[in-house]
Amino acid sequence: MDTSDFGRFSDPALLILASLAGGEKHGYAMIEDIEAMAGVRLGPGTLYGALSRLEQSGLIQALPADERRRPYRLTALGNACLRQYLTSLGNFVSLGLQRLEA
């Protein structure tokens, strides 16, 4: 599974995975966390478009509703996917920086 499978939702999907890596959250908490973490404020439609795809793919899991709010958490598959993506991104960043310094 690759977050690029989510098309125009690939960036929000990555942001959601990164947010949930810090612990389970419901929709509004994710928006706030992502804004604090990456300076990007996801719209509600974008958030749920990406959330539904991540859930379908088994990368995140819905938890029992807390009143009307439903928290989500990262699955083992989601954890592995995020780790793999960030590792390859880290390698790319290192290589890019090396070339700039050369």
Binding site: H26, G27, Y28, I31, G43, P44, G45, T46, L47, Y48, G49, L51, S52, E55, Q56, S57, G58, A62, A65, R68, R69, R70
Partner: protein
């Protein structure tokens, strides 16, 4: 722009299947973060995207929907199998009631134990189906009353089937009590002779019962198939209880299936024991409408076996390992 007025309208832009799954939590999110026209546009685009997902058939891969579909099929298969098993069970009771096996059970402990096992199994299976099916039944009735006209019409089928059976029973009672006289039907049947008129009337009763059971099962199957709701909240005595209706019904379905299996084994054992003690009964005509006992008993076993197999495959389909696929 008054966002609180726009909000419900925005959620309704999404497809029904999507709303069934996400509407409650999405509404809460909109309450908190729908601030500007840009947010409205974002939600609008999200709704368009959800419709495109449906058009592309992507919803079929939705893990949650897939799991609900599989569990729903499990519940429907076990429910239908149970109805078939019950019809066969009634035939068995009819066969035993008319034969010398009932008096024999008072002196033969093994035969009595097999019969008791069947009775206990039927009580356990019925209890499991009632407990497991109650939240689902309440949900579909609630949805039907809330405005789903087609479901409401379909739910009238079991009601009319029951009324038809009741009317027929009243008719049989009136004939039996001589208030209605029909040529060829006698009030008191002599042992060893079942008049054609009486047989026709009993065949009519069986036909009304079986057709009613089939029509009701199909109607309830259709209504439940239309219900995509997995989670329902019930309110009683000042308390709220949220139930995952299909997941809740799974364990009772397993119990009902196991009870059917136990009853099938007990019925075969009962027949075998009866045959070894009273073989002449199986050569006689204690089946329904005076049919051959052996042939009728084998038919009952066959129906029970098919129903048990159906319940088994239903449970297998909905088992946790398979719903994750």
């Amino acid at each position: 722009m008054r966002m609180d007025k726009v909000r419900p309208w925005l959620t309704n832009l999404y497809p029904r299947a999507w709303r069934d799954r996400y509407a409650v939590e999405f509404d809460v999110l909109l309450e908190q973060c729908l601030h500007s026209p840009l947010d409205v546009v974002d939600v609008f685009l999200g709704a368009v995207d959800a419709h495109l997902q449906l058009l592309n058939g992507e919803d079929l891969s939705w893990r949650m929907m897939n799991m609900i579909n599989k569990l729903r099929t499990t519940i429907l298969m076990v429910f239908t199998a149970f109805i078939g098993f019950i019809v066969a069970g009634f035939s068995l009771v009819g066969l035993a009631d008319d034969s010398p096996m009932i008096p024999l059970m008072k002196t033969n402990p093994a035969l009595a134990a097999a019969w008791t096992t069947i009775q206990v199994g039927s009580a356990v299976a019925l209890l499991a189906v009632v407990i497991g099916g109650l939240p689902l039944a309440l949900t579909v009735v609630r949805r039907a009353l809330a405005g789903d006209r087609r479901s409401r019409g379909l739910l009238l089928v079991p009601v009319f089937s029951f009324l038809a059976l009741l009317l027929y029973l009243v008719f049989v009672f009136l004939v039996g009590s001589d208030r209605i006289q029909i040529q060829g039907v006698v009030r008191v049947v002599q042992p060893g002779y079942f008049p054609p008129g009486n047989r026709l009337m009993m065949e009519g009763l069986m036909l009304v019962f079986i057709l009613g059971a089939i029509a009701s099962t199909l109607a309830v199957w259709k209504v439940i198939s239309r219900n995509d709701t997995e989670q329902e909240t019930f309110h009683a005595v000042g308390r709220s209880l949220t139930v995952n209706i299909y997941r809740f019904a799974f364990m009772p379905a397993v119990i009902a299936m196991l009870s059917m299996l136990v009853m099938l084994v007990a019925t075969v054992s009962w027949g075998w024991l009866s045959f070894s003690v009273l073989p002449q009964v199986f050569a006689g005509n204690f089946g329904l409408w005076g049919t051959n006992t052996q042939a009728w008993f084998i038919s009952i076993i066959a129906v029970m076996a098919v129903c048990t197999a159906m319940a088994f495959f239903g449970v297998r389909r909905g088992s946790p390992g398979r719903t994750q696929q």
